[in-house]
Amino acid sequence: VTTTLIILPAVAALVIWLVPMNRISAGSLAVFAALAEVGVWIQMLARFDFSQSGLQFSQQRNWFSDLNVSYHVGVYAFSVWLVGLTAVVMAASIAYAFWAGRDRPRAYFGLMLLLDSAIVGVFVAQDLLLFYAFFEAMLIPLYVLVGVWGGPGRIGATVKFVIYTMAGSLLMLASVIVYGLSKGTFDLTKIPTSDNKWIFLGFAAAFAIKAPLFPLHGWLPDAYRESPPEIAGVLSGVVSKAAVYGFLRIGVTKFPGPTHDLRPLILALAAIGLVYGSLLAFRAPDFRGVVAYSSLAQMGLITFGVFAVNDLGLNGSVLQMVNHGLLSATLFLLAAMVERRATTGELGRLGGMARGRPALATVLMTTGIIALAVPLSSAFAGEFLILAGIFQRGWGWAVVGAAAMVLAAMYMLRLISAVLHRDPGPSVTDAALDLRPAELGVTVPLIACLLALSAWPAAISGHAFGHNRAQNDVLHQFAAGCRTDAAQAMQQLKLAAGSAPTGNAPTLIEHYFVTDCR
């Protein structure tokens, strides 16, 4: 099943490239393939056993044996949600692009499907080199998609984007080589943890650039502004999650020591990004700018959750990854729809779009309300969990996070009022219609997912790391020991060292607890 998820879009892409077809059939084939991907994912979800914590739907084939590199894919309980996010967001983006119309449709849709395949690959790869290959393969379609179909400043934006991300990726390649060769295997489920700070930094650089974290976000505003809106949605909604996923799957789990030592640094960067991104979002002059910078802020928050490395934080960050992915894809699509009507995204020239356009108003309002994390929304649940998690690491971080939530409310409300309320801006004419059924067809499913998560956030937060009761009890004891009594903690550490399965497929939470008591 896992391989099907990777192959399906890639095959569809090849068909679109090789078989001559017109705009309509290429587009509909692409939409069909993307929906089929969602279908396969739903079927996988239905068969997924959440009572287990290990790897499922695992498939392994030899790639080259002398360095122990293999094609090994599979999903964990947390990655299954991210795969789903990818499938859903990609389907919505492709459908929107089909409706909006893009030049050179065959090339465009083929690349979109290839991107779909690569991102799914990142989330399911269980081999370091395979992970790296997918991680870089994402860049190939993105480069062309932004560079060919983007706005007027696209060439500068793509160069910046590629150079930034490749700088990180190549440092990661060096780390992959050193890590894999020194441990004798590249298999993520078998490779033991490492204490080498430099290897960790190599990985961290790649993920921090792709996410992006604070000082490394230079590519972000240009890329998000110049790319076609649905690509920006994919970039901020899904591609950035691949980076955080990397932190989660490799950074935190494989490098417990460096994670522990460098946590203050990374949390500080995340905190700066959180506040700085929120402030920039509040000051941004256009719709996309607000979403772009809010995305920077949100990535800071999710990084908080991951590097809190405890139950609450990790569960919250997975939930928030899905939330933010859906939200930011929706918001970028809405930005596209607004820009289409008003020919500009500048907030100063917009306004009053609610009057006579109830559908647009409702959709944007709903999304905005969820994005600013009002209680009962899924984003609130995610952020709350993250804050609760980070609180255990120090109340100061939680204060920063809470302050950022207030800022989030400020910039989202500013965005909503600037677009929907006030007097109609100079670019808003009566000729600008309400959302068309097709546009609703793209956005409403995304919002429906968000509402469903709002109703039942535990669907993800309770099912992200499996529920093995007995195991979890031991671990919870353990966590308690960490906080209260150092000597007792050491005692329990020794206990756990005996009981915890070492080497073979360590689950995240086990790992964290074993190592965090050091």
Partner: protein, 486 residues
């Protein structure tokens, strides 16, 4: 009467097949009517390469244990056979690229004769097992290439390229010869294995340095690269393709053999020397390529930096490094020939040298070639989904296993720099509008070139295929590298 050594004709078959092809093509230049010369020459040359390819494969299969040939002057082992497979394939593809090259009819058969002769010299060169045959092979292939560079009299810069290559190349050969003499003088042995049986003092080390320099010239590694940009730019594009793929392949393969077999005891010295050359090549090649506007010049500098990556594998001096080199050569050769083939196609379409400016819109006008070029650039840059990625991964792994993490870092940084110009080609082809084209196209549809397109597709298949089928290829390389004492 001098006793005649036993001759293993089978081991010489690839060499002789190409030599025969050269002779027949040369006869065709005289006997065949002018109209048929182009076709005859090309077919004979292609047949020669195909036969050599077949023989080399047979040799590979049947030479699990290395043996000497003709009194140990040459070797017959899988290492040699694999290198011959590479160069025969490269030659076959280069013949395909040459087929539609605009060239006067009167000397076209000689062109193919020389192409086959150069291939024959290379096949001899990689088989060489002592310093004498080494030099003989080197001169054999070089002289053929000198003429090939200048063969097209109508090409502006062709003569300059030939002359420059002749002078600089001869200098390289002379250095190599002098080095050989020093080594022989010190050790009293000509054959590689014998050289290593004697303790080396400073004279032999001088000789070693000169041998590295001489082979470095052929591999166009910096700082012995000065001729490369001009020659690559000036020579007819198919010849450039052949030189980039085949000459570099054989020079590096032979370098690895000489260093590991004849100078195993000096490995502390030459690993460092080769590593330094690798770093210099990476630096100079990449930074000079950044500012090029002419695509052939850019590819020339890129080939210098690619040599740097392969030298990393050689400098590692371990089994993994030998494997890395042999594996890397597969996507590298396919990528270079493919890239130059695309350049040749654009050149024939426009009738002027190809620059970044006049590539604008090319990708959309001719999607097959455009996408192929895109693949080749990704292959050079070492992106996943191309064999270049695996090749780089192996080369860096070998360096790490040697204990040189710093070399890995250098390689990684060099890759980053190289991205800018490789992706620059993609940018030029796909992201700029044809209106930005700075010259008026001649009009009419572009020439239909089935042969060239077949070559390009083959190269794409090899470039991409070597990403997926790593295990069989690495086994191939591994078996070949077993012939070396690593």
């Amino acid at each position: 009467m001098i006793p005649r050594p036993h001759v293993d004709w089978f081991a010489l078959a690839p060499i002789n097949a190409l030599l025969a092809a050269a002779a027949i093509a040369l006869l065709a230049a005289v006997l065949v009517p002018r109209r048929w010369r182009r076709l005859t020459g090309a077919v004979v040359c292609a047949l020669g390469y195909a036969t050599a390819f077949g023989f080399a494969i047979a040799l590979y299969v049947r030479s699990a244990h290395g043996t000497g040939v003709v009194s140990n002057a040459l070797t017959r082992d899988r290492y040699t056979a694999l290198a011959q497979i590479f160069l025969a394939a490269a030659g076959l593809l280069a013949t395909g690229v040459s087929f539609r090259e605009r060239m006067r009819d009167d000397h076209v058969a000689e062109y193919y004769a020389l192409l086959a002769a150069a291939g024959s010299g290379m096949a001899f060169f990689v088989a060489s097992n002592n310093l004498m045959t080494l030099f003989l092979g080197l001169e054999w292939l070089s002289i053929s290439l000198y003429i090939l560079c200048a063969v097209d009299r109508d090409l502006i810069g062709g003569l300059e390229a030939g002359l420059k290559y002749l002078i600089v190349g001869s200098f390289g050969s002379a250095v190599l010869l002098f080095g050989s003499a020093l080594v022989y003088g010190e050790t009293g042995h000509l054959d590689f294995a014998g050289i290593n049986t004697v303790h080396h003092s400073s004279l032999a080390v001088f000789g070693l340095a000169m041998l590295i320099v001489g082979l470095g010239f052929k591999a166009s590694a910096a700082p012995f690269h000065m001729w490369t940009p001009d020659v690559y730019e000036g020579a007819p594009t198919p010849v450039t393709a052949f030189m980039a793929a085949a000459t570099k392949t054989v020079a590096l393969v032979v370098m690895l053999r000489v260093l590991t077999v004849a100078f195993a005891q000096d490995d502390k010295l030459w690993t460092v020397a080769v590593a330094v050359i690798a770093v210099v090549s990476l630096t100079i090649g990449n930074f000079a390529a950044l500012v090029q506007r002419n695509v052939k010049r850019m590819l020339a500098y890129s080939s210098i930096s690619q040599a740097g990556f392969m030298l990393i594998a050689i400098a590692s001096d371990n089994a993994l490094g030998a494997r890395a080199l042999l594996f890397y050569l597969i996507p590298y050769a396919a990528t270079s020939i493919g890239a130059f083939a695309v350049v040749a196609a654009r050149e024939r379409e426009l009738g002027v040298p190809v620059t970044f400016e006049n590539l604008a819109g090319f990708g959309w006008e001719r999607p097959l070639l455009g996408v192929a070029m895109w693949t080749f650039m990704l292959g050079f840059a070492g992106f996943p989904l191309t064999g270049g990625f695996i090749g780089k991964f192996y080369a860096f792994s070998a360096a790490y296993r040697h204990g040189w993490t710093w070399l890995v870092i250098v390689g990684v940084v060099a890759t980053l720099v190289s991205l800018y110009y490789y992706l620059g080609i993609v940018r030029a082809m796909f992201m700029r509008r044809p209106e930005e084209l700075q010259l008026a196209p001649v009009g009419g549809s572009p020439p239909r070139e089935t042969v060239l397109q077949t070559v390009v597709v083959t190269c794409v298949v090899v470039t991409v295929g070597s990403f997926f089928a790593v295990q069989p290829l690495i086994d191939l390389a591994k078996n070949a590298a077993d012939a070396l004492p690593l």
